[in-house]
């Protein structure tokens, strides 16, 4: 299958200012050497705990954030080298759906304007055509066209997320970053939005990056899953394989911490101890070593490199280093 997106050793370091003269006193390595690709029509799940850099990765693939170094290829074009018109030409093909449907819609705009803005900015339709296009989009995401003139505050969280999805679809993108699109929603609404995303993805053969901390949702939606910890991908595999045969101790712990829905089975493994360390001062060697139940001596000093276990299943862990 054709690759729609390819990221090569992406890095994003944020400077930390402090001291008397507000000089740079350190760096937060939010994303540190991350490589992956997304195939056409594929959903890649990106999971990890808060602060692990998953959102930063998502935004860098859209060039909403400039990477410190690395390359992002979108359909064989390195989007980091694009400028001006060329960049503006490629932007419509890549969109984003945000986590919080309350703060990501302009409260002063009507639904019509929110969805239609990008279309008119790119000069793709005007007047009646534009109105028709907006109505089709609303229908597609399950909103009645009666709501055309309403404002965001008149909608529930689920409906607002539908508006956000319609806005992302407005320019017929090929690739959409979904940044925790269902985390702010209630369980019964979550299922509606997940189904919608799934059917849209199939209809238009979209490629999605689905960022989430909810392993169940990622498992349900994505074909492949990448697990991040403190700015690095620690394991990547086809979703089914990852759930069945997780290799990295962190992935195993994450899967084990997911509470089972069976009240008769309460045998819970001991949860992972300690906290996620600060990315300002990450542990040496493998970032996970202070919490790892299978820690060895060299984990404390050597950074593990990529090991391919089987086809498409890669892990960064010294345990598998022969």
């Amino acid at each position: 299958m054709k690759k729609i997106l390819k990221a090569e050793s992406l890095k994003k370091y944020f400077p930390v200012y402090g001291g008397l003269l507000s000089r740079v006193i350190g760096q937060v390595k939010a994303v540190d050497d991350v490589s992956f690709d997304i195939k056409e029509g594929e959903i890649l799940g990106l999971v990890g705990e808060s602060g692990c850099g998953k959102t930063t990765v998502g935004r860098m693939t859209l060039r909403l954030l400039e990477p410190t170094s690395g390359k992002v290829f979108f359909e064989d074009t390195n989007i980091l080298s694009l400028k001006g018109k060329d960049l503006a030409m490629i932007r419509p093909k890549m969109q984003i759906i945000f986590q919080d449907p309350f703060s990501s819609l302009n409260p002063r705009f009507t639904v019509e304007r929110i969805i239609g803005e990008a279309i008119s900015v790119h000069g793709l339709a005007q007047g009646n055509d534009l109105r028709k296009k907006i109505e089709t989009l609303m229908e597609k995401v399950g909103l009645s066209k009666m709501y055309l003139k309403r404002f965001p505050h008149e909608f529930s969280g689920g409906q607002r997320q539908r508006i956000g999805i319609a806005r992302a679809l407005a320019l017929n993108p090929k690739y959409i970053v979904c940044d925790e699109p269902v985390s702010a929603l209630d369980v019964s609404i979550q299922a509606q939005i997940i189904n919608l995303l799934q059917s849209l993805q199939k209809e238009d053969n979209l490629s999605l990056m689905f960022i989430s901390h909810d392993l169940n949702v990622v498992k349900h939606l994505s074909q492949r899953t990448a697990v991040m910890y403190l700015g690095k991908i620690v394991e990547m595999a086809p979703t089914e394989l990852l759930n069945r045969n997780a290799a990295h101790p962190y992935t195993q712990a994450l899967l084990a911490s997911k509470p089972s829905l069976d009240p008769t089975n309460r045998k819970r493994p001991k949860p992972l101890q300690g906290d996620v360390p600060s990315p300002l001062n990450p542990p040496s060697g493998c970032h996970f070593h202070p919490r790892c139940p299978k820690v060895e001596n060299r984990c404390k000093t050597e950074i593990p490199h990529q090991i391919e276990l089987e086809d498409g299943h890669t892990v960064y862990c010294h345990l598998y280093d022969e």
Binding site: Q159, S257, L261, D262
Partner: protein, 329 residues
């Protein structure tokens, strides 16, 4: 008090908020008992009244605009709604304690955590500052705070989210409450930290024999930690049963819908959904509040509110408020 008596017995409680435009019916005729030593989960979606039920029990509902319309909240036989405020203050934080969803905003940023824990001790117990500090240190050890001797003199911003929630738990258990209300205690925390905190609460409950009212929207947590479950929808309890029963044989269409809408272990299957959205608590539909979304609605559902009643051929334990089971009386 015999162990058969409930520790907390909420009877027919209604808490409304009278705003300028309308009346928000947040809690409507709720009955809920909690027995000593058990964990009862209150489950429901945002705005269903779970937190207002908890705040009513603590008498922390702002009055006005809030108002207790009717009902009683019996705690060890005393009606909390009738107690004068000074009496209530002796119970609040001492016999009934509460931990909140956001450990980040529930701690005072300008006091050390030691100060905040000793404050709770000195309010309720006749102890000197030194003794209180010793007790604070002890309780920090009990909640498995890493290096408590140093942490006790730190400020909240120096702690991680999980550690802050440990401090909140330490503050709430320091006076040895018999009831702990945990309002979404792990919603703001990461998956691996969530398991740590919930395991800690469960251990403390076993050790001290306190009861826990666990408010959550996460059904996985319910399955793992609750003895009994009450499902709330639009201010009413629609189903109440043991955790096993709720998951193995849910009866109310809303409970069924909730369980069905969770992603299953199979990949890429379409999820079942509950159509529509939760009604606004100020504009509730007539009859059963769930009827506009219910796949099994009947004529009567739009007219009359069903009562919470035991299922016919079941024990007293499994109750449902649904006309599907309610007609024979």
């Amino acid at each position: 008090m015999s162990p058969k008596d409930p520790l907390l017995d909420i009877q027919n409680l209604s808490t409304f908020f009278h705003t300028e435009e309308n009346i928000v019916r947040s809690v409507r005729n709720v009955d809920l008992e909690i027995y000593p030593g058990e964990t009862v989960a209150l489950v429901g979606e945002s705005g269903c009244g779970k937190s207002v039920t908890a705040l009513s029990t603590m008498r922390l509902v702002p009055i006005p605009p809030g108002k207790f319309e009717n009902g009683r909240i019996l705690f060890k036989g005393k009606d909390l709604l009738q107690l004068p405020e000074p009496e209530m203050q002796k119970i609040r934080g001492n016999e009934i304690a509460m931990i909140f969803q956001e450990p980040m905003t529930s701690l005072n940023p300008i006091f050390t955590i030691g100060d905040q824990i000793t404050e709770a001790i000195c309010l309720h117990q006749d102890k000197s500052k030194e003794d209180a500090r010793g007790l604070a240190l002890e309780v920090l050890q009990k909640v498995a705070m890493p290096s408590p001797e140093e942490r006790i003199d730190q400020y909240p911003h120096e702690l991680s989210g999980g550690m802050k929630q440990r401090v909140m738990i330490a503050m709430s258990i320091v006076c040895g409450p018999s009831l702990l209300i945990a309002d979404e205690p792990t919603t703001a925390l990461d998956a691996t930290i969530q398991a740590q905190i919930l395991d800690l609460l469960d251990e403390l409950r076993k050790e001290t024999q306190m009861s826990i009212l666990l408010i959550t929207h996460n059904l996985g947590i319910v399955a793992q930690y609750a003895d009994r479950v009450a499902v709330m929808y639009s201010g009413k309890i629609v189903e109440q049963a043991s955790a096993e029963k709720i998951f193995s044989s849910p009866s109310h269409p809303y409970t069924k819908g909730l369980l069905n809408s969770l992603p299953k272990d199979t990949i890429s299957e379409k999820l079942e959904t509950i159509p529509g959205a939760v009604p606004h608590p100020a504009f509730l539909p007539e009859g059963c509040a769930f009827h506009p979304r219910c796949p099994e609605k009947m004529d009567i559902c739009a007219q009359e509110i069903p009562e919470l009643k035991p299922l016919e051929n079941d024990s007293e334990e499994h109750k449902t408020a649904c006309w599907l089971f309610n007609e024979v009386s």
